[in-house]
Every structure is written in structure tokens, then in C-alpha cells.
Amino acid sequence: MNESYTRLSKVGLWKLLATASLVLLAVLPVSAEAYSYSGYRWSNNVNYVRYDASVPSSWQSSNALSNGRRVWNEAGSPFRLNYSSSSGNVVRAGYYGDTGWLGLTRIWTDGAGRIAKAETKFNRTYHWSTSGAAGYYDVQSVAAHEFGHWLQLKHSYYPTTMYTSAGKGETYMRSLHSDDIAGINQAY
């Protein structure tokens, strides 16, 4: 009697666990987020960038680069990327040839999961505009995208700032999509 009671209790316990799991699965929200984050992060929430002399002055005077980083500063997380002429993290521009890439960001990590240094290169072999002109690649859009890589956000397959590729005259990457905002708020 005692043994069968114990067996019944065990069966009851499993049923209870199975029911609880099903209820949890039904109640928990299914993540539909498309952003992807590498897991590497800056030690501090406030970091700095400088623009190399190779960057056209019009890209700075038009605020195309600073607007590209400002969108991330205003995304609701404590992360800030500010300008400092003495920063070791740098944005450059050069004529790298018909490479197939518009902007490229390299992030060095220290082996303990922390970001040690960042560098972005713009390829001036292609034709650029700071006003979103048709037929040109948009500086501010590419800057916003590359600064997203500074946060270690990876590419999205949906039309967000972190989308994988760009075309001429496209400016939609200038503004963060809710998915990009979710990404930075997960990282910081």
C-alpha cells in the first residue's frame, strides 16, 4: 500500500511538472528579436573616438559622423561614445580600391572578453555624400552602422541600422530600429 502510494505520488509529481512546463511555455514570450550581440564589451560605459586626418573635413562639419554615433548615445542605455582627439580608437578614410565594402570595423579584445581598441575605415574609392543624395553612399548611415559594430552588435537580416549591406542613396540606417535599440540595451 505504502509502495503503490509512493509510485502514485511520483507519477503525480511528473504530471504536475509536465503541466507546469507547458503552462510556462505558453505564458513566456517568444523572442522575435533579430539583433545579435557577440558578447565582447567595453570595460566602461563611456568611451571615446577620434577622427583621423584622413577623414574629409566635410564629414565632420556636416555632423555626419557625430550623428552616426549620437543615435547610439540616445538609445536609452548608459553607453556613451564621445569624441576625444587623444583617443586610441579611431575612424579613418582611405582609398582601398574596389573592395566591395563601404566601411569596415575591427575590434581588438584582450582575451578576457573586454574590448581593448576599435578602428573603423571608410572606403573613399566609392562615392560618398553627407546629404543622402541619390547615386552616392551615405556617410551618416554607414557611420551609424559601423558604430553599432563598436558595440559588438552583429548583422541583422532585417532592414535595420545593422542590416548586412547597403545601396546608393539609402539613408534608413541613420535612425535606429527598435531591434537595434533592443541590441544596445541588452549589451549595456
Partner: protein
Amino acid sequence: MKKIIGILVVMALVVGAIGIVAVLKGRSKPSVVTVGALLIRKDLPTLAKEADTIMIGKVVADLGSGEDASETRLSKVYTDYQINAEKFLKNPQASRDIKVRVAGGKSGDSTVLVEDEAKLTPGERVMLFLSKEKGGRFTVTGFAQGEYELKGGMAKNAQNTSEKDEWRLISEVQAEAAR
């Protein structure tokens, strides 16, 4: 006096142990360089037009990593792969053994991870749009945009979430390559 010597010995042992742990920790976690880029979008007709050859084949071997001085690819660190061609859809090559170089890999103690490059895995069947470089070596046209994984009759591009039938992709590519 003995006590002081004892304390000094213990302190030396502790400092030594901390040093050894720090060295081992540093060795066990090599640094990583991540590379992310914004690519110029290339649709299928553009890829077919720009590629020097288009092939379907199987990735048979990882030939190892190295480093070159080129700034044009996504990373100076590269990995070479050997692909065995099953079929050429554009400009057939004399040899069925094709060597393809992709950006990223291991160099010394550091690993370079390149998000936008084609990801070749030995054993995988792929369609590749290839550009011929100096020295006869190939790279993937448009980086990850120029690679389709072929599996179970379906073709999937790493930069696109949608899949399409393999036969449909082949016929589209053949039509574009013939233009």
C-alpha cells in the same frame, strides 16, 4: 627568526602561484579580433556578372591559415579551403580542385573572426561565385553574398534568411551567366 623565514617562504610561494596562474590564464585565452563591415549589396544578376567563375562543389579540406599584406580583403589573416567542383555554371576551370581563400582564421595567438565572409566548412556542399585573384587563387565574390549552402534540395545564402529550391537557383544563375 625561523618564523620570519617561514612567512617569507609562504609569501614567495603565494606570489609565485599567482604569477603562474596569471601566465596560464593569459595563454589559455588568446585574443580575438572581430571584423564587421558594411558590404555593397550585390543581387544575383550582379554576382553572376562579376564572378569569374561559378561552381557547385564540396568543401573537402581546410588548408590552413596565414597572413598577407593585402588591405583589400576584410582581414590580412586568411584561411584557404580546397573545393572539389561537381559542376561549373560559368567559365569552367581546367581543374576540378579549386583553392578558395577567405578572410579570417588564426594567426599566432590571436583569432580573427570575420562576420561578412563566406563560411566554408569541410563536408558542406556549396554554390560559390568566385573571383580570380593574382596567382590563380580564388576569393568569394561579394564575400558572404557569393556563397549558397546546398542542402536537401534547398539553397540558402548566409546573408539572407530566405531559402529557395536548388534547381530554381541553378536555373536563375545559368540564365544570368549566359547574358
